[in-house]
């Protein structure tokens, strides 16, 4: 709550506001997609393939045109918002939770636990993310759940580093010593006292990671390793649409614009948060 209020009160909040609204709009669309989409996003019509925006066939109007199987692009984009946002949100949740937990434990416990965790961080950061993703998908197979797992388990080191450094900083402070003397046990101490104090930079990391995860999903779908049809995500629609840029330009363009706007909004809001709370996080 405190966090939200200070974010809103910051200078420059007025410039950021439209993008925050845009973000909320995307979230709403994602939630309500099944109800607001005009047509079934999976319904193919082989005779209505690759039609331009505004085509009407029978009772249906394809406001943004149809794709390579005659499916309504607008409905697919609306549903695609769900997949793109869900992948990003879930993977950030998984990696953020795991990473923060490990970082806090490493920073608080020290000793061999610290060494083990931070060495694991080194190993993970030594593999180029995209190669690791490709190799892992080769074993697990593509698909929504596996994609979340892959992204979740490759990004946690970023949170760990920040959480670790922050916890180190906090551990020496008087309130921690006081709480310990008062008899607080480690989990309670970490959760109720340390965590809120280190939350701000972690939220900043999470926000930027969110934008990155959206781009990652698009990139993996481009390589054929992401969301599988007939389920739609903006990245997978763009991946097939890429082959039609010269002829059916709408297939890649509209999801591309949405993707760009979404990532842009996330980055602007994330920047604002970062500027407000932790200008030096930029240096890590």
């Amino acid at each position: 709550m405190r966090f939200l209020r200070s974010a809103l009160a910051a200078p420059g909040a007025a410039a950021v506001a439209p993008f925050a609204v845009l973000l909320l709009l995307f979230a709403l669309v994602a939630l309500l997609a099944p109800w607001i989409a005009p047509l079934d996003p999976a319904r193919q019509s082989l005779l209505a393939r690759l039609r331009p925006p505004g085509t009407t066939m029978g009772a249906a109007t394809f406001w943004l045109g149809t794709d390579e199987l005659g499916r309504d692009l607008l409905s697919r984009i609306l549903h695609g918002a769900r997949a793109s946002l869900a992948v990003a949100l879930l993977s950030v949740a998984v990696s953020g939770t795991l990473g923060t937990l490990l970082g806090v434990v490493a920073g608080y416990r020290r000793g061999w636990v610290e060494v083990a965790i931070m060495r694991a961080v080194d190993v993970m950061l030594s593999i180029p993310a995209i190669l690791l993703a490709i190799i892992t998908v080769a074993v697990l197979g593509p698909g929504f759940l596996n994609l979340v797992l892959v992204l979740g388990f490759t990004r946690w080191p970023r949170y760990t580093r920040v959480a670790y450094a922050q916890t180190l900083g906090q551990a020496g402070l008087p309130y921690v010593t006081a709480a310990r003397l008062a008899g607080a046990r480690a989990p309670r101490l970490l959760l109720r006292h340390v965590l809120p104090n280190i939350a701000a930079p972690l939220v900043v990391v999470a926000t930027l990671e969110f934008g990155l995860m959206i781009l990652f999903e698009a990139g993996l779908s481009f390589l054929g390793l992401g969301i599988q049809p007939p389920m739609a995500s903006w990245g997978s629609i763009m991946s097939t649409g890429r082959n039609y840029v010269g002829t059916a330009w709408w297939i890649a363009t509209f999801p591309g614009i949405c993707l760009f706007l979404l990532v842009l909004s996330v980055n602007i809001c994330g920047d604002h948060l970062r500027d407000r709370f932790d200008p030096r996080a930029a240096l890590r």
């Binding site: 082989l46 393939r49 199987l69 080769a138 593509p142 007939p230 097939t240 840029v245 010269g246 002829t247």
Partner: protein
């Protein structure tokens, strides 16, 4: 005149001169291939892009003409001494690019090389029926097979003749980096991952090649290949998808070169596991497919619907076999009868297959009451599952099968014979028929056996033939060339129209 790949890389960086696009010089043909050749040694890979390149450097023992008939190349004639022995007469006027003559010893060497298990040739499986190869005269070679093998000549269409003395002298690695053959083009340079350059061999025994040089570039992305054609960087390319082909029809400077190939687009149906183990469900699936719509709407007419799991380009293809017409009502009735409404049908696939077709088929099958779940994995995993146990292979999957032999023996044997890794089906009568067709070299007998075998396949439906695949090439309007059913790329047969 070869450049080591490593130095070529540095050279490319250093040379700032090139501004002239290759395509401007009509002397040199610029070809964009979707993949890079794995190797240029003809015996150590099974890969279309490698074949497209090295086939111009080497001559094969026999070849096919434009109509698909097997005709002489290195061998000028052949006779069957017995059902298991063929004697080839080798031409005496062929020279390798270093001037040495091509002799029967080179032919025998090539056969032995490719059939030697220690050599680890992936193509071994196509030639392992050959038990012995030996020189039997100043210009004669005898090949002996373990059993009568009627498809031997078709397989020999793919056997390239390599120079024995040269290969033994330079060793396999150097021969792979700088191949030398007797073909119409000699190897000039290979910047791996980038381009292979060939030059015309003016001493070629069939005559001087009209196109003076060829470069093959590796351009994986179809959109980029098309952009290259439009901008003039490339003169000809392959693997154009039907949708892009439609768009290219309106380009004035380019033309499409479609070719009906021996590749069969079929739907595998698992007869040993899952809801499709019931033959009624399989027949329902056959009734649910609208082949004409698939060919017309999805493939823009680039394809020929077929009713059997063979194309007209394969020996053994028969018309007049009963088929399952498109009839969704009948399909629904059959599924109801089998109690399979709402049954879950896993559809295994990989990025190697046209996903538009996969999704279109999914919808067609869902419309008759089946619940189709697409299971996408990458290609190696797909192959492992598809060739694994019946419960791993999924209920259905698409395939684009070609044996490179234009013969039914290379198609329905591996796909449906008991014991084959690909077959999730077993019918002893079918096995007996195709074994008999393989055991005789009498063509009429073989055709009769295959017709019967196809009838059995029609009844049991372990697979549904959908269409004959048309390969689509695109080229500059001035290039005169007609691609063949065998999907070969003979630059010698191409020329520039004036």
């Amino acid at each position: 005149m070869h450049r080591n790949g490593i130095f070529a890389g540095a050279l490319a960086v250093a040379l700032a001169t090139a501004g002239v696009a290759f395509a401007q010089q009509k002397d040199v043909l610029s070809v964009d291939l979707p993949g890079q050749p794995a190797t240029l040694d003809p015996h150590i890979q099974w890969d279309t892009d490698s074949y497209h390149v090295y086939r111009n450097i080497f001559d094969n023992l026999v070849t096919r003409d434009a109509s698909g008939k097997i005709v002489p190349q290195v061998a000028s004639a052949w006779t069957y001494r017995s059902p298991t022995e063929i004697e080839f007469t080798i031409r005496s006027d062929i020279r390798f690019h270093d001037g040495t003559p091509l002799t029967p010893e080179d032919v025998v060497f090539s056969v032995r090389r490719i059939t030697d298990p220690a050599f680890r040739s992936p193509q071994l499986s196509q030639f392992d029926s050959i038990r012995e190869a030996r020189v039997v005269g100043p210009d004669k070679v005898l090949l002996v097979t373990a059993r009568p093998y009627p498809v031997l000549l078709a397989q020999l269409v793919k056997l390239s003749i390599v120079p024995k003395a040269h290969v033994e002298r330079v060793g396999p690695e150097k021969f792979n980096l700088e191949p030398m053959g007797s073909g119409p083009y000699r190897f000039a340079s290979w910047q791996r991952g980038v381009r292979v350059t060939l030059e015309a061999n003016d001493a070629y025994w069939r005559g001087k090649p009209s196109i003076r040089g060829v470069t093959f570039q590796n351009v994986a992305d179809e959109a980029t290949r098309i952009a290259n054609l439009k901008s003039g960087r490339a003169d000809v390319t392959r693997a154009i998808s039907p949708d892009q082909a439609q768009a290219l029809k309106s380009e004035a400077r380019l033309k499409l070169l479609p070719a009906a190939t021996e590749r069969i687009g079929y739907l595998f149906v698992n007869a040993q596991w899952g809801p499709t183990a019931d033959v009624r469900v399989r027949r329902a699936i056959a009734h649910a497919l609208d082949r004409k719509l698939i060919v017309d709407a999805l493939y823009g007419g680039f394809g020929t619907p077929v009713d059997v799991v063979l194309t007209p380009a394969n020996f053994g293809y028969a018309t007049g076999i009963p088929s399952y017409p498109f009839d969704p009502a009948k399909a629904r009735a059959l599924i109801k009868e089998a109690g399979a409404e709402g049954a879950e049908i896993p559809f295994t696939t990989s990025p190697a297959y046209d996903q538009r077709l996969v999704q279109a088929l999914q919808q067609m099958l869902q419309e008759v009451g089946l619940k189709v779940a697409i299971r996408m994995t990458d290609h190696p995993t797909f192959l492992k599952r598809r060739q694994g146990n019946p419960d791993e292979a999924g209920s259905i999957s698409t395939g684009l099968w070609s044996c490179g032999c234009q013969d039914a023996d290379g198609v329905i044997n591996p796909l449906f014979r008991t014991g084959s890794a690909w077959a999730k089906y077993s019918n002893p009568r079918f096995d007996a028929l195709i074994d008999a067709a393989r055991a005789t070299i009498d063509e009429k007998e073989r055709l009769a056996h295959y017709a019967d075998a196809l009838r059995i396949l029609h009844e049991d439906v372990p697979g549904v033939g959908m269409f004959q695949y048309h390969a689509i090439y695109a080229a500059r309007r001035e290039l005169q060339w007609q691609p063949t059913a065998g999907e070969s790329f003979h630059v010698f047969d191409m020329k520039w129209q004036n």
